[in-house]
Symmetry: C2
Subunit: 236 residues, 2 copies
């Protein structure tokens, strides 16, 4: 099966969580918009293609099936590629964890877009400062504290089971994104995120992930994506 991934060009964004799973699995896939441009995405959003109509990218074409919503794509791919334990209960639990990652990712986005997703950051800077203060002081510690506890109550190294899963890959991406966007905050939280930081290092060293990160397929973080480094939004 050669998958087709559809996601906006130029940013890691939510598509990156899917890319990491495809790359770690060694799956064959085309990153369609990078080859054909963002316009390749539009017919799907307009309902002009067979298969499920997505509200937004990322979406994945797998044969005749079109699948949207990041966590849902991962829940679909994972059992096909050994990225989640086989039991139904484990897959339900993995999705619960992934959806909690979805929640903090959405909140990370809203730090630079607190009042209007369709406007520029520059049009909502005072509100972004307020939202970011809450995110740094309340939300990051709460979410990362939760995931630290999840790791600790498992084997200390994996979100679930005894092997790498798509949730571990997504935690890697979450940590990488937060460290890019809020380096001073994340430095302050170092001692409270030891397991997550160690997980991040281990995932980065997985052979296929290491090869991916060193390849041109891995875009750099930038200020068009979800995790943006605006120094004025980080702590002083």
């Amino acid at each position: 099966m050669r998958y087709e991934l559809y996601y906006w060009t130029g940013i890691q964004g939510r598509g990156e969580f899917v890319r990491l799973a495809l790359e770690d699995a060694g799956a064959e896939y085309i990153d369609v918009a990078r080859e054909k441009g963002d316009e390749a995405i539009m017919p799907f959003l307009r309902g002009q293609q067979p298969g499920a109509q997505p509200f937004a990218p990322p979406f994945l074409r797998a044969g005749r099936q079109v699948i949207a919503q990041t966590a849902n794509i991962l829940g679909f791919l994972a059992p096909r590629h050994g990225l989640v334990p086989a039991s139904a209960a484990s897959q339900t639990y993995a999705l619960q964890l992934q959806l909690t990652i979805t929640d903090i990712v959405a909140e990370a986005h809203d730090t630079h877009h607190p009042v209007a997703v369709e406007k520029y950051y520059e049009d909502q800077r005072p509100e972004a400062r307020k939202r970011s203060a809450s995110f740094r002081e309340e939300r990051i510690p709460k979410f990362l504290g939760y995931f630290e506890q999840i790791l600790e109550n498992n084997d200390g190294r994996h979100a679930l089971g005894r092997r790498n899963s798509y949730v571990d890959l997504s935690l890697f991406q979450l940590m990488a994104g937060l460290e890019y966007a809020f380096p001073r905050t994340m430095k302050r939280l170092q001692r409270r995120t030891t397991r997550l930081r160690a997980l991040r290092e281990r995932v980065a060293e997985r052979p296929r992930i290491a090869a991916y990160l060193a390849s041109p397929r891995r875009l750099a973080f930038n200020e068009d994506g979800i995790f943006r480094h605006y120094p004025e939004l980080d702590e002083a």
Copy 2:
């Protein structure tokens, strides 16, 4: 199987999407916090109970399994109670739609909490006005336009398949919540939401749903929940 639902007392909130599925299925369940108080929730959040540790309510206890994240709970319950078609592809599609409902529900919440979830609405009123304007003018039409198209491209009456599913129940709740919170906006959009409004009426007339809505188990919308009616946040 007698389920245990855990959700904050006093509000419909995200728990209501689960309640509607349990009620429509005629499933046996206890709404635990309503019987024992919100403190019954806390040991789960602290990881002091067996089963998956939730980040937040709602969560469901089903035998020894604990399941959190609204869409995930619904994806678990639905095939057990005929609330989704049997095929794996249908269940993936249903979850995609439900996660898109999750997205607009989160945005509805952020209209009254645009800068800090842990502060009161009264502490973020100017920002709430801005966020609400964007939500009313850009986001509600975009999301509801999408779901109208989903209905139209199916049979006009159901989100997927030819029968009621958990997604239909959630669309009912979404419409009810938006009409409570933004009555003037929703009136303006009446002609663009004919299928969603008809679906809402049909769901409300389903015997078990009608009985539920008339019972004391259905709380009224209020200004502690997700869908809040602040007239200053609706259009003029």
